[in-house]
Symmetry: D2
Subunit: 137 residues, 4 copies
């Protein structure tokens, strides 16, 4: 399994008037973790887009377990269990400073050719990076 962890504090503007992180921000945290993982692969999203492939989202689900709050240092995880062909499946989770699971979910991504506007295969460098890290955990 490919597994990556990203760490950052909650930002004040991410809280809402319930006094907790607004639920939409976990979807953004998931993205931060995915993009940090691609960066660790040596193939960041901006390089992928330069190479002519964008990675739009296909679907997502998220279960909210415990509210993240201002002051929390979050750990956001991304894990991949299968080498992508037409789609990339990523399991994601957010943990707070105490290690409590705040949210977990799954995101499905596709690959789009900027030239044609049509679906394409996962770019070779991303496939290779995922294959190289598949035994990590």
């Amino acid at each position: 399994m490919v597994y990556s962890e990203t760490f950052f504090p909650v930002r004040y503007y991410e809280t809402d008037q319930m006094g907790i992180v607004h639920h939409s921000n976990y979807i953004r945290y998931f993205e931060c973790a995915r993009n940090n993982m691609m960066r660790e692969f040596g193939y960041p999203i901006e390089k992928c887009e330069e190479d002519g492939v964008t990675i739009p989202i296909v679907s997502l689900r998220c279960n909210y377990r415990h509210p993240a709050m201002m002051g929390d240092d979050l750990k956001v995880t991304a894990s991949i269990e299968t080498v992508p062909m037409a789609k990339l499946f990523i399991k994601q989770a957010v943990f707070n400073s105490e290690g409590t699971l705040c949210a977990e979910g799954e995101v499905v991504l596709g690959f789009l050719s900027k030239a044609t506007g049509h679906p394409t295969r996962c770019p070779e460098p991303l496939v290779k990076a995922i294959e190289a890290h598949m035994g990590d955990r």
Copy 2:
């Protein structure tokens, strides 16, 4: 079925460097439609919170079908099929100016007592409003 429609244009800051609305914003659009529906019920979220009940999210899923773009006037829908007890299930969708389905999903909400911090029943005014509109469509 209770059914509500909310209309607004895409905002520039909601686009990303793919040139489309960032996927996290559909989750926010869903919320706008839910809150507009509560307002139409005569029981807006801020009144509900004043009455001591917050409505945190429990889970959500979203399927992305067609990108919304700058210039689109969106229609965002919310529909409720069952009167809520401990949880409120809302089906949601986003359509663009041409009527194309951009995204559809489901959101599950809970009810939390501000006094105790514990789960509570759906507030009476909200139950009554939902019951009153259940035959609308």
Copy 3:
């Protein structure tokens, strides 16, 4: 003077844990009003960008007077006093449901050629629209 008004409700995710609209959102409200004005001109920003000119921000200032809250229906204004050459100066304000001034500021915008990446003149259709509306108020 060219003058335009745009109306929309506060969105829940725009509030923060102070229980008011987060200050960064007024900057976004300003943009919504500017883009709605361009739309009223019959020359929306997406058309302008298609024509090869982007309108990046040069500077802004904002004075915060009164907090906007969930439940408020906002009126956001944009006014232009001089026909733009290299730069466009727009005065902006946000009013709540009671007509109380929540924030006022000024935004300076430039014009950038997408082809060259260099500053360019304000596009003709935008100049003409501003000239046509200059006596409105």
Copy 4:
């Protein structure tokens, strides 16, 4: 002078369809740097609010010099030149990975008593921390 630096990468959702970081996000970056500085002081914003004082914004200005982009690791700075009484003046700047100044501005903050809703003095722990660090640079 009190001086603090905060580092983080650009997030994908912060970009817009111009392919650069949306201008409203620099206002949020400024806040991240201020809150990180308070944390370094040992008096984070959430502690200050627990102590009964919120720190709403009074005014801000920002000059945009160079676009930040996806892939940039930003350095965001906050500096304070005078010990706050009723107001806190903070100079702020954002630099990209190459050290290029992307934006600079100034933010003025007030202090509000949660109990009375009225303006109050800067909390003692924050005054003391600022005094203690005033000679740092």
